[in-house]
């Protein structure tokens, strides 16, 4: 628990998974701790866990490590926060889902469908001159697909924000560096 207020790591992606009580207002409590310090939340996903009393919030933020550690400690202090872990992106499986409506005139429709196939996406709606595509996968794959679709003309795009879990084999072996820095409540 030793503080690292004196160390200054550069800005980078941090993934926090926060297990909270499934109650009204909890998301506002969590997000306001970031807002208070002017930290922008890059993405955020919330849903109930297998136990309906709890929800898991996955937060991605771009901040330096030392201020994040202080926010994390403040998050523990929220009465409704049960557990919090920081996942190292290198040791986590991250997934995100995206829906995108892309221009697909008769002349280009074939190309779009081909790319959807390559990326293993699914066409979920078809209009006269547009297609809506669903794509799930690692965030970088979604980024690549988004870049390719931009050439055809995107008229609407919605991403869910990422969810993440630690990679299994490392956790199972209980190596010293498990990829999860368990910051769970002391005691």
């Amino acid at each position: 628990m030793a503080g690292t207020a004196a160390t200054g790591a550069g800005p980078r992606h941090h993934i926090l998974t926060v297990l909270v009580e499934n109650k009204a207002g909890v998301l506002a409590r969590v997000s306001s701790l970031f807002a208070r310090r002017g930290f922008n939340i890059y993405s955020l996903a919330v849903a109930p866990t297998d136990d309906e009393r709890f929800s898991r919030i996955t937060i991605v933020v771009d901040v330096e490590s030392s201020p994040l550690e202080q926010v994390t400690k403040q998050l523990f202090k929220l009465i409704n926060v049960v557990k919090i872990s920081e996942l190292d992106p290198a040791d986590a499986v991250e997934r995100e889902m995206m829906m995108v409506t892309v221009n697909a005139e008769p002349g280009t429709r074939g190309q779009v469908i081909e790319l959807v196939d390559v990326f293993q996406g699914r066409i979920v709606d078809v209009g006269h001159s547009e297609l809506t595509v669903e794509l799930a996968g690692p965030p970088s794959k979604l980024d690549d697909f988004e870049d390719l679709m931009r050439a055809y003309g995107i008229s609407a795009l919605q991403r869910t924000g990422r969810v993440a879990l630690p990679r299994l084999e490392r956790q199972a072996q209980r190596l010293p560096n498990t990829g999860i820095r368990s910051l769970g409540k002391v005691g």
């Binding site: 628990m1 202080q70 929220l78």
Partner: protein, 586 residues
Amino acid sequence: MKLNGGQALIKSLEMEGVEVMFGLPGGAILPVYDPIIDSPIRHILVRHEQGAGHMAEGYAHATGRPGVAMVTSGPGATNIVTPLADAMMDSIPMVVITGQVPSAAIGTDAFQECDIIGVTRSVTKHNELITSAQDIPRVIHEAFHIATTGRPGPVLVDIPKDIVDPNNPNSAMDWYWPDSVDLPGYKPTVKGHPRMIREAAKLISEAQRPVIYAGGGILKARAAEALRELAELTGISVVTTLMARGAFPDSHPLCLGMPGMHGNYTAITSMQQSDLLIALGSRFDDRVTGKVGAFAPGAKIIHVDVDPAELGKVRRPDVPIVGDCKAVIEELIKEVRQLQATAAESGGIAQPDRAPWDAQLKQWQAQFPLHYDQGWNEGDALKPQFCIEMLRDNSPEDTIVVSGVGQHQMWSSQFWRFNHPYTWINSGGLGTMGFAVPAAVGAKVGMPGRTVWAIDGDGCFQMTAQELVTASAERIPVKVAILNNAYLGMVRQWQELFYEERYSEVYLSPDLPDYKMWAEAMGCVGMRVEHPDEVVPAIEKANSIDDRPVVIDFRVDWTEKVYPMVAAGTSNDNVILGPEMGEGGH
């Protein structure tokens, strides 16, 4: 047993052992006020909701029991936001109950509606909107549990009118009292980690220039006795922060007094030059550390706090210990005894020779005492420090002193001799002007047998003086010493030192208002003191009055400044001892 929500709320407070609550009714909370008539709980009707909050804080400070305040929705609730923020900063256990518009009207901009849960989210330890009358006992029980355990703090419970109004079917409930709390995310650590405690004992046994840096957490943990035992066992001197005055007796030879921006030279410098700081329930506040990068540069840090977020927040500790101060100190004492016994058995010495360090501390104390000059010639101005010393010397030793915020607060913390815990009550973290009068009322309610003196500034007094009406009406005989220098004195001091004597908006006037007449209008005895030889007789008279509040308007020297001083943002190596050293300190 069938009850309505209002009855269940009051009964829940009774179950929590609440003896007194401070509040002011209004539309949304009206149904809860009806069962108060039939309850043994004493309700004190304040004149402004801020007063209710600070009274609850003063009560909690003095007694260690949670303070309780109850107000209505909207403006009633927003008026108590400042006390909530104050209690949050100073870790005061407090439960505030606010009325809310009926459930169906929430979010419609109804009359006297305010989203007080949203407003107070960052100034409470926890807050909760109760949505069903059946939940009232559970939520109240949880509120008291959260407010009083771990790091104490304020909890706000917001109650829509429909669930407490007997005329509304939503208020029906079956009474129960929970025998436990189910808060999966809230399990404060009490016991310190044994390995860390051993590490701490080892550092203590090796240190040549150790200092105990005692903070308000000592008082919250009821650890004053344990602290004294640790200090005497190890022979280590103790500084007591603004929030910890009284946690270690000022009369004790190991007491160095208060560190920080207006601390004494020895306390500040001992920390600067120490090789080990044992921080017990203190939080490295900027007013204590000065420029953080230059604070105690050669010191290793043992940091004990019940709140893990404090460890490493400002200064990285060498030995972090999460736990209750009392529990940890008691374990630490055992470890130190063990080390001493082992050293004695092997014929070694338990610790390095600290005589040079102790001699250095004594030399600083002799060389740099606090000082002021009260002149006795015709026309010599009355010094505020003299008034405080005379109050101190002519009042019972266990007098509870309550202050507002500013110069009078610093002089009180410097010149009073605090020899008992829980005798000093002030607003440390938030720095809330106007805290003194209502907090003194709350303290006196909690400790009716004790003399309670509010030492206040003229600026502070004007912010909350109306609560003396409450004190008169409720026969709560507090005493108020206004150190009236006709200025917002601390701001004036900064303008003098750092803004080239450009005095912007700090003059208040010595006699507008007329404090004596104002006190009398509020049912108090009012006195005015202008000359040094009038001070003691006025204090003696005030101390002899026990049937109503007393206010003394001390007309003090407006030019007097608080010294020593470490200018904001500078290193604690640069202690300005007095005006002769100028603003730079060199």
